[in-house]
């Protein structure tokens, strides 16, 4: 009698196992996770106070590209101050082969004139540029930059912009060639630039 019960249990368990094997679909994602492809970077043309500025204008130079905005009260000044101090560590010959572009991620509020004033406060070699919201979004996407408006009552115009705070490095051939982390000290900025200036 007890043997029969055991047998029944065994059969039920076997059926359960079979059923699981056939029908249980693990909920783990089948699709491959999005591949973290290196951002492509690439050329762009935006507006500065003095007219259009294109990345390709600087071919042959090492270009630092930073995405920020002029209402940015802390993060951008920290990044730009580090960049500016890094530039000051370079010799005039080295500096002549470096360009810095500050791309606004707040095209609604940042005018080219505002950007010029803001960027040059840190270093005269920094060019502030902006474009239509669509243009800026497309470039940010290509560089792997994230930015999003965040409502803050008391911020000028009622919002701040969360944004990637790294500085992108474009090699002399126009290729996106790494980035400098936010709040890196000036000597590291200079070292990153020099590394690329000495590349054949």
């Amino acid at each position: 009698m007890s043997q029969r019960i055991l047998l029944t249990i065994a059969i039920l368990l076997a059926a359960l196992l079979l059923g699981l094997a056939f029908f249980w679909q693990p909920t783990l994602p089948e699709r491959p996770l999005p591949v973290a492809a290196a951002p492509a970077g690439g050329d762009f043309t935006l507006q500065a106070a003095g007219g259009p500025v294109a990345l390709q204008d600087f071919r042959g130079k090492v270009v630092l590209v930073y995405f920020g905005y002029t209402y940015c009260p802390d993060i951008c000044p920290t990044s730009l101050a580090a960049t500016a101090e890094g530039l000051k560590l370079l010799t005039p010959e080295e500096l002549a082969r470096v360009a810095v572009i500050f791309v606004s991620v707040d095209p609604e509020r940042d005018t080219p004139a505002r950007l010029k004033e803001y960027a040059e406060f840190f270093h005269p070699a920094i060019v502030g540029v902006t474009g239509t919201p669509e243009e800026v979004a497309a470039i940010a996407r290509r560089y792997g930059v994230f930015y999003a408006r965040q409502p803050v009552e008391t911020a000028g115009g009622g919002y701040v912009v969360d944004h990637t705070a790294d500085t992108y490095i474009v090699a002399a051939d126009g290729r996106l060639d790494g980035k400098i982390a936010h709040a890196s000290p000036a000597d590291q900025v200079a070292a990153e630039i020099r590394k690329r200036l000495t590349k054949p």
Binding site: C72, T78, T154, A155, P185
Partner: protein, 152 residues
């Protein structure tokens, strides 16, 4: 009876003010970062040390140079810096709170007039027991993060 308890509460409150958090908190190296000419806001930074046996919170900051003053922090989410207001900045008993770029700071929003390097901005900090303290923060040009954690 009600009046009596009110009086008692009032006395307790004023006692709290007299032996307040402000007496236990010292402020070191306060400074305001000079804002670029077109920037409407800037940050004030300092190190707050609490010599007392109780945790203390800064619940409010004020200054005459901007129309709005807030306590803020930054959250770094995968390289994306997010600035957010915080209701208070806590200073642990016998501990310190470091207000520095990219982290906690007093935010001066909607500046009334452009600042100059070397100006001093009186910043009043109000603590959770109602006591307060005013420090003069020097206006300095933004500098890069020091290579070391703390620079003297």
């Amino acid at each position: 009876m009600k009046q009596l308890s009110l009086l008692a509460a009032g006395l307790l409150f004023s006692a709290g003010v007299l032996a307040g958090a402000a007496d236990n908190v010292t402020v070191q190296e306060p400074y305001v970062r000079l804002a670029p000419p077109s920037a409407p806001a800037t940050g004030a930074f300092m190190v707050l040390k609490n010599a007392g046996d109780k945790d203390v919170k800064v619940v409010k900051a004020d200054n005459p140079a901007s129309r709005v003053t807030e306590l803020h922090t930054h959250i770094n989410e995968g390289g994306v810096m997010k600035m957010r207001p915080v209701p208070a900045i806590e200073i642990k008993a016998k501990g310190e709170a470091v207000l520095k770029p990219g982290s906690l700071h007093v935010m001066l929003i909607d500046l009334k007039a452009p600042m100059k390097e070397g100006d001093a901005v009186p910043i009043t900090l109000t603590f959770d027991d109602g006591s307060s303290k005013t420090v003069d923060a020097k206006v300095v040009r933004p500098v890069a993060a020091p290579a070391m954690e703390h620079k003297h």
